[in-house]
């Protein structure tokens, strides 16, 4: 089953990168959240597959967290926040979609050449996983810098974190993976949703981070 194990792991990790690309061209917040939920589902499948082929049952916990928390709870909660607060539903982009996509392709090419040439010692599945994971991380970063809206920055951060979870599960037998994914999830929920969005809303009519730029504290 060696080959199928590899192929499926490859397919799922590649799927994750593809969904990251899909996020780059969404221009509606709701659609963005749906795509993010899709990415979480793909991540959960990828992690579950790793759990099966590595025979590491604790990874099922990580897969379950990804499925329940990231695919259902967080997108649902963000949905409600957008609705309740009446946030602009468009994703405000700093750079155009075309440029962003091109930059994204460049980043993926970079990470794949980099990782594949450096990791010749590691085993094949870990290599592929790391290469794809780095792509997802970089695409998440790209999304964070090309968006102005706080909600889409959070989504970018969460997708970046999906890449990290993929890398951690791909590294065979890595300890603390479950703990790390739990820590990440709890903190995202706690900080982002609980505190920041509500506090920002208390003071501003927009969750657009650009609107905060005028308060630099350095005015004469």
């Amino acid at each position: 089953m060696g080959n199928i194990a590899f192929d499926l792991a490859h397919l799922l990790a590649g799927g994750l990168v593809l969904v990251s690309f899909m996020m780059l061209y969404q221009d509606r917040l709701y659609a963005l959240l749906n795509v993010f939920a899709l990415q979480a589902v793909v991540l959960s499948a990828a992690v579950a597959w790793q759990a099966l082929i590595q025979d590491a049952s604790h990874l099922y916990v990580t897969a379950l967290i990804a499925l329940v928390f990231k695919a259902l709870v967080i997108p649902g909660a963000l949905h409600r926040i957008i609705q309740k607060l009446g946030i602009h539903r468009e994703v405000e982009q700093v750079v155009g979609v075309g440029t962003t996509m091109l930059a994204g392709m460049g980043l993926v090419a970079l990470s794949i050449t980099l990782m594949l040439s450096l990791t010749s010692a590691a085993d094949a599945i870990a290599r592929e996983d790391l290469a794809f994971a780095l792509s997802v991380v970089l695409l998440g970063l790209l999304m964070m810098v090309t968006r102005r809206n706080a909600v889409s920055q959070v989504v970018g951060f969460m997708s970046l974190e999906n890449g990290l979870i993929l890398a951690a599960t791909g590294a065979k037998g890595m300890p603390l993976v479950v703990e790390i994914s739990v820590a990440f999830s709890v903190l995202i929920a706690f900080i982002v949703i609980g505190v920041f969005l509500f506090r920002i809303r208390e003071r501003f009519d927009t969750v657009d981070v650009g609107a905060l730029d005028s308060f630099r504290g350095e005015k004469r």
């Binding site: 980099l114 450096l118 990791t119 010692a121 590691a122 870990a126 790391l130 994971a133 780095l134 991380v137 970063l141 964070m144 706080a150 920055q153 951060f157 970046l160 974190e161 990290l164 890398a167 951690a168 590294a171 065979k172 037998g173 890595m174 300890p175 603390l176 703990e179 790390i180 820590a183 903190l187 900080i191 505190v195 920041f196 506090r199 920002i200 208390e202 003071r203 501003f204 981070v209 905060l212 730029d213 308060f215 630099r216 504290g217 350095e218 005015k219 004469r220």
Partner: protein, 483 residues
């Protein structure tokens, strides 16, 4: 091993953790402020006890060695003095209504949780655990930076959260790569994440993958250190949060991130074929120094001014460790300790100054030595010390760094001296404004505790004049350890 079974390491972690839980439920800010001080004092005593008892053998998760003891004692000491300062600071904030009792309860709980996170990062023998601890410390400080809930505070906290998370995410990727590198040698499981194990077998790792991991770790933890291209969060976070937190951020959290970088640098140094980490650190350090030195001239906010000064000094420290060798490492270590003490002392005085004057604008703070002599001269001493005037300890360490660099590469030393002079000019220019001239604004006497401020300055002064022999020997041993 320790026959009595008494292990201060556990106390260093347990006291802040338990008090965080206690402080979260106890009402009344007077009580909780005292308890916060008491808990910090107890943690400091536990940290000092680390010297007295035999060290426990390094386990899978915890480690005490010559290097991290220095960091832990410094961390808990400044944690305690900052808690003392915080008690009087918070009292004033409650009176003026900037903070409500609920916020203060939250603040104290977060303070101890942050101390727990930092101590855990310092004693951890496991790269994964260390990462989790630094993440915890970062997130608690994010919450404290945003505690005033003003426009500026929210922007600062948001920026800090986003940049800090990105930094921490990159560091995690680097951590995973280190595991992937170590796993073929040390086998699957915990062993491949344990410092002592990693160090003993470092030579057998795959060099190219380790290099890549180090780049991620340097960028990731470097963001938290506040190195130049990645520093954007630092001035905002320092300026908008409560001042005790500015003191703790500058004095401690930057050091904790630096400690992580140093550990990985040691790992790189233990591998003969891996990329030399020195030039990268030297480059980032010098860039931070020169950049921050010029930025000092444009500041109009007193806390931002000293935040940029922190970037400058972290640059100097990273530069010194990047140069490496026993002398430069010794100087870097000394400079780190001196900077922590001096900068937190400065923030203690700045905290009271901004409370009295009701503003952070440099232009509105004048003639402090006339209106508030004790506070004004305390601030003046702090600024002179941080600018690198003799006879303070900062001068000693900067002198050592400059002279050891001149011996090895004069060109770098010129850049270093240039940066130092630029920063010196900026700080002195501002200082004359603060302490001389016609006093402005509020004149009423300060209700402040000056003990933490002057205690720090006394240590910095003594270290500049005379360093006790055992301490020098200790620092030399650590400097050799750092390679």
């Amino acid at each position: 091993m320790n026959p009595s079974g008494f292990d201060p390491t556990v106390l260093v972690l347990a006291i802040p953790a338990i008090s965080a839980a206690l402080l979260a439920v106890l009402p009344g800010y007077r009580l909780t402020a005292r308890l916060n001080m008491l808990a910090s004092l107890a943690t400091l005593l536990a940290a000092l006890a680390l010297f007295a008892v035999d060290r426990p053998a390094p386990g899978d998760y915890l480690l005490i060695d010559d290097l991290n003891i220095v960091f832990i004692v410094l961390n808990t000491f400044v944690g305690f003095t900052a808690a003392t300062f915080s008690a009087s600071y918070i009292g004033h904030e409650i009176e003026t209504g900037r903070l409500t009792p609920t916020h203060v309860r939250f603040y104290h709980a977060m303070y101890q949780l942050m101390m727990f996170g930092m101590n855990l990062a310092l004693v951890s023998n496991n790269i994964g655990l260390m990462w989790v601890a630094i993440e915890l410390a970062t997130l608690t400080t994010v919450l404290m930076v945003g505690i005033y809930r003003t426009h500026e505070a929210l922007e600062a906290a948001w920026k800090y959260f986003i940049l800090g998370s990105v930094g921490i995410a990159l560091a995690l990727f680097g951590t995973i790569l280190v595991y992937v590198t170590a796993q073929p040698v040390l086998g699957e499981g915990t062993a491949a994440m344990v410092w002592t194990q990693l160090m003993s077998r470092a030579g057998e790792f795959d060099a190219s993958l380790l290099n890549l991991a180090f780049v991620f770790l340097l960028l990731g933890y470097g963001t938290k250190v506040g190195l130049a291209p990645l520093h954007a969060w630092l001035p905002d976070a320092h300026a908008e949060g409560p001042t005790p937190i500015s003191a703790v951020l500058s004095g401690l959290l930057l050091n904790v991130a630096l400690y992580a970088v140093l550990r990985f640098k040691m790992l790189m140094a233990a591998h003969p074929e891996a990329l030399a980490p020195g030039p990268l650190m030297v480059g980032m350090g010098l860039l931070s120094l020169v950049f921050a030195a010029f930025m000092l001239y444009r500041r109009r906010d007193i806390k931002r001014l000293f935040a940029y000064s922190s970037i400058e000094h972290m640059g100097i420290i990273v530069f010194a460790f990047g140069m490496g060798g026993p002398l430069a490492n010794f100087a870097g270590l000394l400079h780190m300790v001196m900077h922590s003490l001096t900068k937190s002392a400065i923030f203690f005085s700045v905290g009271h100054v901004t409370q009295i004057k009701g503003t952070q604008k440099i232009a509105d703070i004048r003639g402090l030595t006339q209106s508030h002599p004790v506070l004004g001269w305390g601030l003046a001493l702090g600024v002179l010390a941080i600018a690198g005037m003799p006879p303070f300890g900062v001068f000693m360490s900067e002198f050592l760094i400059v002279s050891s660099t001149f011996a090895r590469s004069p060109v770098l030393a010129l850049v270093l001296v240039f940066g130092l002079l630029v920063a010196f000019g900026a700080l002195l220019m501002r200082l004359t404004g603060f302490i001389f001239g016609e006093p402005t604004g509020e004149m009423r006497p300060a209700q402040a505790s000056f003990v933490p401020l002057y205690a720090h300055m006394a240590i910095v002064l003594i270290a500049g004049v005379y360093m006790p022999g055992p301490m020098v020997a200790w620092f030399q041993a650590v400097a050799r350890l750092l390679g």
